[in-house]
Every structure is written in C-alpha cells, then in structure tokens.
C-alpha cells in the first residue's frame, strides 16, 4: 500500500477513534447530568459541555500533521487557551481540585504543546487560581491558615522532588501515568462522595497542638459551623505523597487535597476545598520554580492560561459558598473522565 494511502487510512482510524471517545464522554456527561435529582445549575452544566465542545475540534487540527499547528496563525492558540481556561477556572475552585488538575490532562491531550511546557504552565495555572481565590477564602474562614501552613510546608518540599522527577522521566510514561492518575481521581470521586460536615468527636494531640480548628459561616445553610481536625499524623504523611504527584504531573493536586482533608482529617468539605487552595499556593510555587529554572515555563502558553483560569476562578470562588457540593462533583467527574481517557490514549499512542 502506498505511504499516502497508509497515512490516509491511519488518519481516518484516528478520526473515528476521536469521534468514539468524544461521543462516549459526551454521553457520560449527559447521563451524569440527567441524574434523578436533576439539580444542576444550567449555567454550570453549560460550562462543562462548552468546555468539551470547545476542545473537541482542536486535536484534529493540532495532531494530524506535524506542521498543522504551525500552519495556523500563532495567536489562535493563546486565545483558545484563554477561553478553555476561563471555563476550567469556573469549575475548578468550587470542586476544590485546583485549576492544574483539569488543565494538564485537557491541554496536554488536546493542544500541540509538549507535556514539559504544559506541566510548567499547569503549576502556574494551579497557583493562579489558588491565589485568585485565596484571600477571599481566608477572610471568610473557608480556608484555614493554621491547617494550610503545616500541610503546605510538607507538600512544598515533596512537590519539588516530584517536579525534578517529572523532568527526568520519559514524556510518554508521564502522560500514561497522568491518564491513570486522572482516571483514579474519577474513581475516588465516584466511590467517596465526601461528607459535608464530618463527625469529629475529638481531635488528636497533634491537631490540638497545632490548633487545627475554626469557624465559618455556611452560606448555603445559613449556619455558623465550628470544626476540628483529627488523624493529623496520617494527614501529614498523605500530603507528602500528594506533593510528589502534584509536582510530577504539574497538576497542583487539589484533587487529592480535598478528600484527604475531608474524608481523612474530618474537615468540612467547603473548608477542605478552601484550605486546599492555600496549600496549592505554597506547593505549586515550589514546584513551578523548578520548571521556570529549567526553561519549561513558556509565557505564550502560561500567561493566557493563568489569566483565563484566574478570571474563571473568581467566579468559581463565589460559587463555593452557595453551591451544593454534589452539583460541582458530577460536572467535574465528567470532564475529568474525558481528560483522563485522552491522556491515557495519548500516552499509549492509541490516540496520538
């Protein structure tokens, strides 16, 4: 078979594969959104769907040919990044997963940039959305400084180790592992629905020494909620592992911060999401320095992404106080499922 014909068939197979994966992802979203409760906010549902629809055509143009990206006007890419990140920012903060968790698998899978630059930008994006929301969350008590500082310190140290590891490992291996991690996150989110107000009858000695407790006004229930943490030693250990993963994949690791704080340490889900942002400001900064010093921080990729994410995060931070956790959760699960599949297929060369 002539090479041109082989290339044509391969291109058709790729297009069919993309179509099938996209169709499955969209069907999953619709199935999730048409749940019996049916209480999704229309605007947020639309944001999730629009995010996928916006990104769907990109790989066809970006990946089919090596010169495909170069053939397009350069300004198309930062503009597309800005809008994609704006939508990601709206859902990232209320979901407590940090912008980087959505950014790296989606942009790494669907845009033509090398994963090294995507991970560098991903950490800046995670930092940007956390910085944008941080002050407001701290003032309202939805983020706890006493909780965030010790966890952030450990996550900072280990995220540097993760970033160094990420710059050594082969990109295909990192991409495949990223896909598996993201699908693992989806599984974690499905199996562990979280507890809005966990029952913590007594805090542990370390939590008492660190004064890991606080009070916040819950905007949804209009109640003042006091909370305290427990299982602190295990929580600290978990945050070391989370930091490594965050630095390695450039995803910031808010996705793991929230279940660790909520399910393990017994912190209310909203305080867990808010404090996760604070931890991210510290851990992402540390890991991002490694990428910046290595030359893997491209302003043309990082800046439109950060600006879009920060604008979206400002809206997202306001939604955190009034939205029901389950609403945000379903939407994020759907988007992550698509992004995880894409990363896995790209890493294994099935959908390159």
């Amino acid at each position: 078979m002539p090479p041109e014909q082989q290339k044509g068939r391969s291109s058709i197979r790729g297009a069919v594969c993309r179509h099938r994966v996209g169709k499955i992802a969209l069907q999953t979203i619709l199935a999730l959104e048409m749940s019996p409760k049916g209480n999704l906010l229309p605007g947020l549902s639309a944001a999730g769907l629009l995010l996928l629809c916006l990104l769907q055509p990109l790989p066809a143009q970006a990946m089919d040919a090596a010169g495909g990206a170069a053939a397009m006007a350069w300004w198309v890419w930062p503009l597309a990044l800005f809008f994609a990140c704006f939508l990601m920012g709206i859902v990232a903060v209320p979901a407590g997963i940090g912008g980087g968790t959505l950014f790296v698998p989606i942009v790494g899978g669907l845009f033509p940039f090398h994963l090294d630059f995507v991970r560098g930008a991903g950490l800046l994006v995670a930092l940007g959305s956390a910085l944008s929301a941080g002050p407001m969350l701290l003032r309202s008590g939805l983020a706890s400084l006493r909780l965030g500082l010790p966890l952030g310190l450990l996550a900072s140290i280990s995220s540097i180790a993760g970033a160094l590891l990420g710059l050594v490992l082969p990109p295909a291996l990192v991409q495949t592992a990223l896909g598996l991690i993201v699908l693992g996150i989806v599984l974690l989110m499905v199996l562990s629905p979280g507890s809005e107000f966990p029952n913590v009858p007594e805090s542990d000695p370390l939590a008492r020494a660190l004064a890991l407790h606080g009070v916040f006004m819950d905007g949804a229930s209009r109640r003042e909620i006091s909370w305290q943490a427990h299982r602190t030693p295990m929580g600290l250990l978990i945050f070391v592992v989370i930091g490594i993963l965050g630095g390695l994949f450039g995803i910031g690791a808010g996705w793991a911060n929230v279940p660790a704080l909520n399910l393990l340490m017994g912190v209310p889900i909203k305080v867990a999401a808010g404090s996760s942002s604070l931890v991210l400001t510290l851990a992402s900064s540390s890991a991002a320095w490694v990428y910046l010093n290595k030359g893997a921080m491209l302003p043309m990729i990082a800046v439109p992404s950060v600006l879009g994410m920060m604008l979206g995060a400002r809206i997202g931070a306001r939604l955190l106080d009034v939205l029901e956790g389950s609403v945000i959760r379903r939407m994020v699960i759907a988007v992550l499922l698509f992004a995880g599949l894409r990363a896995l297929l790209k890493g294994t060369g099935v959908w390159a």
Binding site: P112, L131, L149, R223, M297, V303
Partner: protein, 146 residues
C-alpha cells in the same frame, strides 16, 4: 461535626484570626501586583512592542519539542540567566511570573512578628521553614533533565 451553632440568617462571615486576615491582605496585594506586571509585559510582548527571544511565529514550530531540544533550538537561557536578557519581550514576561511565584514569601514573613509576639514557636518555625523551601526552589540549585 464538632460543634454546629444555628444562627440567624446572615451573610456576615465569622470573624477570623488576626494572622489569617493579615495573610489574606498581603496575598491579595502580591497577587494584584504580580498580575498587573504580568499582563502589561505580556501585552507588550504579543503586541510586538518588545523584541522577543523567540518570535511567536517560530514558537509555534518548536513548542512541541521536549524541553532540552527546545532550549537548543531557541537558545533560551535557563536558571536566572534570563535576567540578563530581560529586554526581550517573552523573557520580560517572566518578571510577572516570578512575582506570582514569590508572593507567598512576604505573606509568610508578615506573620513572623505576630507569631513571635504570641510565643507560637511551632508556627514561627513552620513559616521560616516554608520561606527557606521557597527560596531554595527559586535559587535554581535544584535541577534535573533527561
């Protein structure tokens, strides 16, 4: 939950600790300053007001390369060597990124007098250790490659 107190419907946030409010204020100031510088320098870069190290039209051809190949193809400096070429539009934008990456440091330093006055040695140590970690990461001493 530990304790849940029902209270009259009000959107007033519960009062937070002094250090939390101070940290929030410094973080907000640092973020705003970093963002302002970042946006201005990036606009100057994309508008072509400053000559770039890697022209955007060429960047499209090389941003799919692994980092080491990209650095060879574009002669982009690593570590803090970009400071010497800060007049280049794309490298100048890194000033804004550096401000964002570093904005937690003054926030942490601002907490030190509060914790010192209160005799809270644990959190005083945590803040100092975090500053040390951030400075070590920023120094460029820690690096790796394929």
């Amino acid at each position: 939950m530990g304790v849940t107190t029902a209270r009259a419907a009000s959107a007033t946030p519960a009062p937070q600790a002094q250090e939390q409010i101070r940290y929030a204020r410094w973080l907000e100031a640092g973020t705003h300053a970093g963002m302002l510088v970042l946006v201005l320098l990036f606009l100057a870069y994309v508008a072509g007001l400053t000559a770039p190290q890697v022209p955007p039209a060429h960047l499209v051809e090389v941003w799919g390369l692994p980092i080491d190949e990209f650095l060879r193809a574009t002669a982009t400096p690593t570590g803090w060597n970009w400071v010497a070429l800060v007049r280049r539009g794309d490298l100048a934008t890194l000033v804004g990124i550096v401000l964002l990456l570093g904005c937690s440091v003054p926030c942490l330093l601002a907490l030190l007098p509060l914790y010192a006055r209160r005799g809270d040695r644990i959190y005083l140590g945590i803040c100092l250790a975090e500053v040390a970690v951030l400075l070590l990461a920023a120094s460029g001493v820690l690096t790796a490659g394929r």
